[in-house]
């Protein structure tokens, strides 16, 4: 007759570790093994608000100096990411459009519009294409433009109109 706990398997199956009572003491405020690094985040928050910028950077350098080379390498590439900026994605739309307007239409439609969701949204701004058209001395036929710009690929439409012959473009654009 099998008694509970008789075999090793059954023993394991019935065993329920007293997790709540045994594991809590190990999780001191500075324990970072929990995986989410909450303690580190809150420690960093405290230091961020209580130290002057200069002292913060000295502390950061001192901490990094004590780190093994492979981790240091990873930390550096993460920091390098912080120094880079998504100009089109993060700047106000009026500046982002101004930047893209410096590029040839074909690059806006073919490349910039395919970088990310934000870049796509900026590259599709009717205002941008209005500017590009105006720079070429063409005025927009507002009615036709409204029709074209309701299509999903407005950047490609704009580029097409620029690329194709003037006669084709004239269908959507009236002379200035």
């Amino acid at each position: 007759m099998a008694v509970p706990g008789d075999s090793a398997d059954e023993g394991l199956g019935h065993y329920s570790p007293p997790q709540t009572t045994e594991r809590l003491p190990a999780k001191t405020p500075l324990d970072t093994t929990g995986g989410d690094g909450d303690a580190v985040v809150s420690l960093a928050r405290v230091l961020r608000t209580s130290l002057e910028p200069h002292a913060r950077s000295r502390l950061a350098v001192a901490l990094l100096a004590a780190v093994p080379a492979d981790i240091l390498k990873r930390a550096l590439s993460e920091l390098d990411g912080l120094l880079r900026r998504d100009f089109i994605g993060q700047l106000p739309a009026e500046i982002a459009v101004r930047i893209l307007a410096c590029l040839p239409a074909v690059e806006i439609a073919r490349t910039a519009a395919r970088v990310s969701r934000r870049w796509h949204a900026v590259a599709m701004q009717p205002w941008l294409w209005r500017r590009l058209f105006r720079a070429r001395g063409w005025a927009l036929n507002e009615e036709r433009w409204a029709m074209y710009s309701s299509l999903p690929g407005i950047a490609d439409v704009g580029w097409l109109l620029l690329r194709r012959s003037m006669e084709q473009a004239a269908a959507a654009i009236s002379p200035a």
Binding site: R84, D86, I99, L103, E107, A109, A112, S116, R117
Partner: protein
């Protein structure tokens, strides 16, 4: 002289002709009249403001742009003066700050210079190279990517 104070409380004493490069500062200085009260700029850090002032010092004797020219898109991103080119050899964080500051302070030539500089960083690169250069992470979902590929096919067929 006009006294400017950055968001991090750094103070700068600047000549009037330097201040006049900025449409916003010109208006603010006029509002202050003869008083030597400082103009505080909570939107601009000292690091960026110092760089903006350096630009304005260099360009203080430039001809003023006509009102008509002001709204134009920069015509080409290649016609940049050597001094301006060297001035723009900065990290991306500074370039970002200069774009925001020149837009806020309304310094049109500096805003255009910044835009041209970023455009030159984008020019000729693939979408992937651009993502890498600017550390861009908000990529398309698979669905959106399909839609974009369709757009592309459509444009090439026509």
């Amino acid at each position: 002289m006009v006294k400017l104070v950055s968001s991090d409380k750094e103070e700068f004493d600047v000549a009037v002709e330097v201040v006049e490069q900025s449409v916003l500062l010109t208006k603010m200085a006029a509002g202050h009249g003869e008083s030597d009260e400082a103009i505080s700029l909570p939107e601009v850090t000292g690091r960026v403001l110092a760089k903006v002032i350096e630009y304005c010092e260099q360009h203080k004797s430039d001809q003023k742009l006509d009102a008509d020219d002001r709204d134009d898109v920069p015509k080409s991103s290649e016609d940049i003066l050597q001094w301006d080119k060297d001035f723009m050899k900065v990290d991306q964080d500074m370039l970002f700050g200069l774009l925001l500051a020149s837009n806020y302070l309304d310094i049109k030539p500096l805003l255009d210079l910044g835009c041209k500089t970023v455009a030159n960083m984008i020019r000729g690169k693939s979408a992937e190279e651009i993502r890498e250069k600017f550390n861009i992470t908000d990529e398309f979902t698979e669905e959106e990517q399909d839609l974009i590929n369709k757009e592309k096919d459509w444009a090439e067929d026509n």
